[in-house]
Symmetry: C2
Subunit: 186 residues, 2 copies
C-alpha cells in the first residue's frame, strides 16, 4: 500500500542477470529472497505486461510442446536505467504493522499464562527462523569471495541473523520475568 509499486523493481532486478519468465520469478522469490520479499502470480503476470507496455522489458515467446509457451522477459536499456535509479535511492521507511506487538500492548487484559503462551509461540517461530539462517550460513562458508556479488546476499542473511538473535534475547528476558512474577501459579 505504500505509494509505489515495489514489485516492479523486484522483477526488474531479477532480470538484470538474465532473461526469465514469470514462472521463474515466482520461484526465485520463493527461494532466494523469501525471507524478506514475496511475490505471487496474481501480481507478477499483470505487472510484467505493464512493464512491457512501458518498454522497461521486452518478451520473446519460446515455443514448447505440451506446456504453455514460455514468455521470456528481457530487460531493456530503459528498464535497466529505471531499476538502477531506484536501487541507488535510499529505501522508503516502512512502519509496518506488527500484530504480535499489538497483542502485547493489549496484553494487560489477559491472564499472564495466556501472555506467556503467545510470547512463547513467537519465540519458537523465531528459533526456527534462526535455525534456517544458520543452516544457510553454513552453506556459504568458504564459498564467499569477499568482493563478489554474492557478498550482498550474504549481508541480508547476516542482517536477519542479527535481528533474530536480538529477538531471542528479548524473549528470554521477558519470559523469565513474567514467569517469575507468576511464581508457581501456572
Amino acid at each position: 500500500m505504500a505509494r509505489e509499486n515495489k514489485t516492479k523493481y523486484a522483477l526488474l532486478g531479477m532480470l538484470l542477470h538474465g532473461p526469465m519468465s514469470g514462472y521463474d520469478m515466482k520461484k526465485f522469490s520463493d527461494s532466494s529472497i523469501s525471507h524478506f520479499w514475496s511475490e505471487n502470480y496474481g501480481h507478477i503476470y499483470p505487472i510484467l505486461k505493464r512493464l512491457e507496455k512501458d518498454a522497461l522489458v521486452k518478451s520473446d515467446v519460446v515455443r514448447t510442446k505440451g506446456k504453455p509457451n514460455r514468455h521470456l522477459y528481457t530487460l531493456t536499456e530503459k528498464g535497466k536505467e529505471v531499476f538502477l535509479e531506484w536501487l541507488k535511492r535510499p529505501a522508503d521507511s516502512e512502519i509496518r504493522r506488527n500484530e504480535f506487538l499489538l497483542k502485547l500492548f493489549f496484553a494487560g487484559d489477559l491472564p499472564v499464562r495466556d501472555v506467556i503462551r503467545i510470547i512463547e509461540h513467537e519465540k519458537v517461530r523465531n528459533e526456527k527462523t534462526l535455525g534456517i539462517y544458520n543452516r544457510i550460513g553454513q552453506e556459504y562458508i568458504g564459498k564467499i569471495d569477499k568482493a563478489g556479488a554474492k557478498k550482498f546476499a550474504y549481508l541480508t542473511l547476516s542482517y536477519g541473523k542479527k535481528l533474530a538473535s536480538a529477538r531471542a534475547l528479548w524473549f528470554e528476558e521477558v519470559l523469565q520475568e513474567l514467569k517469575g512474577r507468576n511464581d508457581g501459579s501456572i
Copy 2:
C-alpha cells in the same frame, strides 16, 4: 492483505478501556502505538459501521454545537468476547516486505559508494528511532508498577529498543567493512 482484518481488533482493543469516537481512535493510533501500528480515517469509519452492524460495538450520538456530533462507540459483550478470543491466539506470522533488504540483495550491481550511502541512510533513520525510544523510556522511569497494565506498553518499547540496538551494531560492522574494502577511493 493478510487473510483477516486486523484493524478490527485494534479498534475493539481501544474500546476495552472505555468509549471512544473514530476520531479518538485515530489519535490513539498516532500517539500510543504508532511505532508498530497505524490507522487512518478511510479505514476506521467504515469498519466501525461494520462492527456496529455485527453488534460488536454500539454507538451513542453525543450532540455538540458547531462541530459534527460525536459518535461514541462502546464495546458490547459480544465484541469483548471476539476481542479476547483474538488476543489470546498467537499472532500470525508476517513475513513482510523489506525494501531495504531487497536493495541490499541487488547491491552488487551498484558502486560501493552508493551502497554505503543507502546503508548510512538506514543507519541514521535507525538512530533517530532509537533516540525516540530512549526518550520515551526516560518518561517511564519510576512510573512503572511492575504488575500494572502499563507494563505491557513498556514491553513493546523494550522490544523496539532491543531490535534497534541490534540493527545499529549491524550497520557499524557492515559499514566498517565496506569502507575498509573501498580504502581511500571514496
